[in-house]
Symmetry: C2
Subunit: 138 residues, 2 copies
DNA sequence: TGAAGGTACCTTGCAATACAAGGATACTTT
DNA sequence: AAAGTATCCTTGTATTGCAAGGTACCTTCA
């Protein structure tokens, strides 16, 4: 369990939102998506991007159109759909919630909602016996 | 691809950091970890937590001790190790970077570093031909 | 006594995603 | 024609979250 892997795991599901956001900004094609995300320290590789785009397309969140340029092979230009915009909004909302929840966990509750639900006596400190190993060993 | 799954994917790798943070705060045992994370809108279930704790233990990031209480079965109380604290620091640093990168992607570059690396002509808008489908169909 | 319920711990199988590695096609250059 | 570049795509592996289910200890109470 190294930091590199931990970082990769943190990005799960985030890349989908970011790729969608990049496409939402303006029509673009895969290598440019890679480039633009690298500009914000979010590195994505082809092997990740293409299956992701296929998923987005299959779910109707994006659409694409082939375009030929004056040079090189034709490109697949992606656009976001209306459904995609709605979903992107939901994603960003969920992301904000997650960021806030994590902040609360990491740095303590900024402002705990005083109207809790049912548990008010919950921070009971663990002051128990100290019997090193009760059950059978592992 | 629904929002529920998207949320689940976003949490990948984040739960590890949060569980470590909860343990770092003070000695605790699994059901209490579940409870404390639920207090910050981060829901984790047993089937996720126990394998995660085993991973943390195997990597030397946490340690545990059996304690018997006055009631119920004995509990496994977890503590963070020195290695664990270092790793948690790395995790939170990585998390901060990720949050900033995502913010930049979603809401545009807050303050783009003017000293770019090598590409200054990158925002070329895609104004090309419009030939609907050049290659073979899909 | 012994049966039921609560608490705590743990495992198995499935689904989803990031990534490394490699391959295919179209176009350009030498 | 051969080599190089840009673009698109697939396959296999590793990791993780989760639902579902199982085991063990302890308490209660008929």
């Amino acid at each position: 369990m190294d930091i590199k892997n931990a970082k990769a795991q943190m990005r799960k599901g985030v890349l989908e939102m970011c790729v969608l956001a990049v496409i939402a900004e303006r029509e673009t094609y895969p290598p440019e998506i890679v480039e633009r995300l690298r500009g914000t320290n979010l590195f994505i590789v082809e092997g990740t991007l293409y299956p992701l785009l296929i998923r987005l397309k299959n779910d109707g969140l994006v659409d694409y159109i082939w375009r030929e340029g004056s040079q090189g092979p034709p490109r697949k230009y992606f656009n976001i759909t209306d459904t995609g915009r709605q979903f992107l909004q939901e994603l960003t909302d969920s992301w904000q919630e997650l960021v806030e929840s994590v902040a609360q966990t990491l740095y303590g509750a900024a402002d705990e909602k005083p109207a809790s639900k049912k548990s008010s006596a919950k921070k009971t400190p663990p002051a128990l016996n100290i019997e090193p190993m009760p059950p059978s060993g592992e």
